[in-house]
């Protein structure tokens, strides 16, 4: 039987159509409104953070004076000051808009750090096994045992309060979760025949780890990264609120701290402390919605309950 006949048989087979990944993603979003909402919220905040310079009507640290020379302090919301002013005469709205930057910066950087560290550790531990695996996992166990906020506070107190330190602290504490789960995934993947196939076709062990297995764990890394965003933002806000943040930085956390210290609650200056609180909640919620929606994308069985 000639190859030509076999070829004819192959050609008669149905033509596989590579589905557009973007189209599929769009279709998925349509079916999953909560993930869509999360994505929209994120996009809005990212845009605000990027365009903060243009949107904010005033410099957030500038102390403002009214036309009559008086300090524009504790003014209620008006056309000139959408959310009023602080007790020191600073525009709340400008602070809110510019405060998005540090929060999002911390969130995204920390997420990247957690995803990267978690992936590397999980990959190396899961694939190499043995002593390396045991050591890394003991380390992970150790870190998991540390209480989160107190540790971060100590770290920041010792190393100084800056955004970098906060990102570092969050990354140092959140990588074990990602690493453990990724390690399990790598263990399963290592048993798959395509790993053996890579070996028999001449791939080195490093190549197998970073070229063959790694792409298969990217979704999980992304998932844990997106979970870390919420944590990081809250941590920065908490630290700032507790007074451990940088003194003159403007972030939602510092706004809350400021408001609290100035007894804004007693004075019912809601426009000052409610908006940053809401923003925090929204961003963290968005992160959660996206990660949950993404989880369902990764593990379709979760969807079947519907």
């Amino acid at each position: 039987m000639a190859i030509a006949d076999i070829a004819r048989e192959g050609a008669a087979a149905g033509k596989p159509v590579p589905a557009g990944a973007l189209a599929r993603f769009a279709g998925y979003l349509w079916q999953n409104p909560s993930a869509l909402v999360g994505l929209v919220i994120y996009l809005v905040f990212v845009l605000v953070a990027l365009l903060a310079g243009l949107i904010a009507p005033y410099d957030p640290t500038e102390i403002l004076f009214a036309d009559d020379g008086q300090l524009a302090a504790s003014l209620p919301p008006s056309a000139a000051h959408l959310l009023g002013t602080t007790n020191l005469g600073r525009d709340v709205f400008s602070q809110l808009v510019l405060g998005a930057r540090p929060s999002l910066l911390v969130g995204i950087t920390a997420a990247l750090a957690v995803a990267t560290i978690g992936s590397l550790v999980g990959l190396v531990a899961g694939y190499l096994g043995g002593f390396v695996d045991r050591t890394l996992m003991r380390l992970a166990d150790l870190v998991l045992g540390l209480p989160f906020l107190p540790f971060v506070i100590v770290l920041v107190a010792l190393a100084g309060a800056s955004l970098q330190q906060i990102v570092l602290a969050v990354a140092l504490l959140l990588w074990p979760n990602a690493a453990r789960v990724i390690r399990s995934q790598v263990l399963t993947l290592s048993q798959r025949q395509f790993v053996e196939a890579a070996r028999v076709t001449g791939a080195s062990e490093w190549r197998i780890m970073f070229v063959h297995i790694a792409p298969n764990i990217v979704p999980l890394a992304f998932l844990y990264g997106s979970i870390a965003v919420g944590w990081a933002i809250l941590t920065e806000a908490s630290l700032s609120f507790l007074g451990f943040g940088k003194a003159d930085a403007i972030s939602w956390g510092t706004m809350l701290q400021d408001a609290y210290a100035s007894q804004a609650l007693d004075r019912q200056q809601f426009a000052w402390f409610v908006p940053p609180g809401i923003c925090l909640v929204l961003v963290v919620l968005a992160g959660f919605l996206i990660s949950r929606g993404y989880e369902e994308l990764l593990f379709p069985k979760l969807r079947e309950g519907r």
Binding site: G10, A11, E196, T201, G202
Partner: protein
């Protein structure tokens, strides 16, 4: 003429987890997956290895391709010891010897395109980049996927089992090997799809002058593509010979049971009770003497005392059973 593959007393053991009492006694239980195999494959031969799961046949395939280290015995490829090959020589070996896997969906990276999958050996074994495109397309055409461009950018899950198995074959052949090991190449495919792949393998063998080693539990498959076959049970060869001879005149009780057990596509077929009872034992604690004796209706005293050795029962046909010398 130097055989392409030769092994003497090939052994492979796996350590088993120890219980506390065993640890205290200093015992180290092992599973002897492969326990003394002598094998000769000449250039151009197509040899089959038949056995049930647990026989060790898959491990033999892995040993031949140096995917797992030997625990004992000797194994040579074109006269060279496989386990003593250095990195450079090993690369050369990988260019010559390739493997076709059982489950096509498991044997390819689900995130790579077909183009990338088939190109993998070329990338790893130093073929110049500019040649990749043509060689990948050529290989896909060779395995019957006549319009390669339709498949190159597809992902594995978009192809059917039969198509994907052809891709696996294409990947194995793209580097131009002379020796191909096929581990259950069609067991995951429907019967109607198998014929296509089997005919392809036969055709390719001839066209490319391949030496092949096919591992399967399916006698009909082995009969179709292999001139000579070995039957394996719990790590040892119990019978070997020309495939047709083995199927028409099986000498060993185990082979006879295997032949009788295969269902035929017509109603008038043998339905007598199989001579072999029970299930395959465990390799960690084989019985003394002949490993089959607990399941064999013909077992007699000598079977418990002494392991039978392979003896000729016809020209080129050997079997390891005490009945032959009784």
């Amino acid at each position: 003429m130097t055989p392409l593959i030769q092994s003497f007393g090939l052994r492979k053991s796996f350590p088993l987890s120890r219980s506390l009492p065993q640890m205290l006694r200093g015992e180290r239980p092992t599973l002897m997956a492969v326990d003394g195999i002598d094998l000769t494959i000449q250039r151009g031969d197509s040899v089959g290895l038949v056995g049930e799961s647990g026989s060790g046949k898959t491990t033999v395939g892995r040993l031949l391709l140096r995917l797992t280290p030997l625990s004992g015995g000797q194994l040579t490829y074109a006269g060279e010891h496989i386990d003593r090959m250095g990195p450079a020589r090993l690369r050369g070996f990988r260019r010559q010897a390739q493997l076709v896997f059982q489950n096509p969906f498991d044997a390819v990276n689900p995130r790579f395109t077909i183009r990338r999958i088939v190109a993998e050996p070329l990338i790893n074994l130093g073929v110049p980049r500019r040649e990749h495109g043509e060689r990948v397309a050529e290989s896909l055409r060779l395995v019957g996927l006549a319009e390669p461009q339709r498949y190159l950018d597809s992902l594995p899950h978009q192809l059917s089992g039969g198509e994907l198995q052809r891709v696996v074959l294409a990947r194995a052949l793209v580097i131009g090997p002379e020796f191909l090991v096929a581990d259950e190449p069609v067991s995951m495919l429907d019967v109607s799809v198998r014929a296509g792949i089997l005919n392809l393998m036969r055709e390719l063998k001839q066209r490319l002058a391949l030496t092949s080693f096919t591992i399967s539990h399916d006698l009909t498959l082995v009969r179709y593509v292999c001139g000579r076959t070995l039957v394996m049970y719990l790590g040892r060869i119990v019978e070997e010979g020309p495939t047709e001879e083995l199927i028409l005149r099986p000498a060993h009780p185990y082979t006879r049971a295997l032949v009788a057990a295969v269902p035929r596509p017509h109603v008038e077929q043998p339905r007598e009770r199989l001579p072999i009872s029970g299930a395959i034992g465990s390799g960690s604690d084989p019985p003394s003497g002949c490993r089959l004796r607990a399941r064999c209706p013909y077992a007699f005293a000598r079977c418990a005392q002494e392991e039978p050795r392979l003896v000729p029962v016809a020209p080129g046909h050997l079997s390891a059973c005490h009945l032959h010398s009784a």
